[in-house]
């Protein structure tokens, strides 16, 4: 499977994603944001970081870069797109994903391992997970507080477009286990066609048991299925 990792000034998880992808047998290329074409890709990853120093709003400036036009075209043609952390913020700013990521409710930059429950596994990104499985993934963000209108939130729930929610280690979803104030404990969402996934937790940091754990591995290997 061919993957492309997009690099912006200020991206800082690009190499981590590349290492994870290559370890899991993807043929990966790094793509600078000024490029006006994409190599043939089955998966495009927009990595985490602080593109353009989070100026204006997180992801707003990166959302207008050259390569985003190509990503939008590819996504509309069905290419798989994964936005992690800042990548999720960029996807919402371009409109490829619904909603917006606000400042964390407690105004703190949060960097810690949290529990995330797999709400839906019948999709290309999660088919190697079990429904209701609880993962331990790392989060590291200042703006991860997912917000959208009441109608759109209902649509996300009704159409089963929320694959990941923050929970406790037993899978209970409540305010206590919501690290950043996200509506309905949302940690990740799909577009309607489920070929675009945006998520705040970092699966690429969880692919090696000697560094962390391997809870993120299945997200990538699901795509190879």
């Amino acid at each position: 499977m061919n993957s492309s990792v997009i690099v912006f000034p200020g991206s800082n998880c690009d190499r981590d994603v590349a290492v994870a992808l290559e370890k899991l047998q993807f043929r990966n290329k790094m793509i600078w944001h000024k490029e006006t074409s994409l190599p043939k890709s089955d998966l495009i990853v927009i990595p985490g970081g602080f593109s353009y120093g989070d100026y204006l709003r997180s992801g707003a400036i990166a959302g207008k870069s050259n390569i985003l036009n190509e990503i939008i075209k590819a996504a509309n043609d069905g290419c798989l797109v994964l936005g992690i952390c800042n990548g999720f913020q960029i996807l919402t700013e371009t409109g490829l994903l619904n909603g917006v990521l606000l400042r964390n409710k407690n105004l703190k930059f949060i960097s810690k391992d949290v529990h995330v429950k797999v709400i839906d596994s019948k999709n290309k990104f999660c088919n190697k997970y079990k429904k209701n499985q609880v993962l331990k993934l790392n989060i590291a963000h200042n703006e991860g507080n997912y917000f959208t209108s009441k109608d759109q939130l209902k649509e996300l729930e009704d159409k089963n477009l929320i694959p990941f929610k923050y929970s406790d280690e037993n899978g209970n979803i409540n305010d206590e286990n919501n690290p950043n104030g996200s509506l309905n404990n949302i940690a990740g969402i799909f577009n309607d066609k489920k070929n675009i996934l945006g998520m705040m937790p970092h699966p690429e940091r969880m692919v090696d048991k000697f560094i962390s754990n391997e809870d993120g591995t299945n997200l990538f290997t699901s795509l190879l299925n």
Binding site: N104, F147, T148
Partner: protein
């Protein structure tokens, strides 16, 4: 032609920064303070002679980049 753009969070959007600023002011003894919301302000100079054309250009800048319409409102004024 110069314009100002005031960007404010919509009323139903949580404003944690504004809340902390409000609490701090209240702690400083500003006891008549009822509410406070934080926003953004831009000053934009455009090379246009006709006001309506210039305003449309500013509006385009707002909707395409400066403002996220899901959470923010904006107000354009001529300076």
């Amino acid at each position: 032609m110069k314009f100002s753009v005031k960007v404010t969070l919509k009323h139903d959007v949580l404003d944690p920064q504004g809340k902390v600023v409000k609490q701090t002011l209240q702690n400083m003894g500003m006891d008549t303070l009822i509410n406070l919301r934080q926003g953004k302000y831009f000053e934009i100079d455009v090379n246009e002679n006709e006001e309506s054309k210039a305003k449309n250009k500013i509006k385009e800048m707002c909707t395409k980049l400066l403002v996220n319409l899901i959470i923010e409102d904006f107000e354009i004024s001529k300076i």
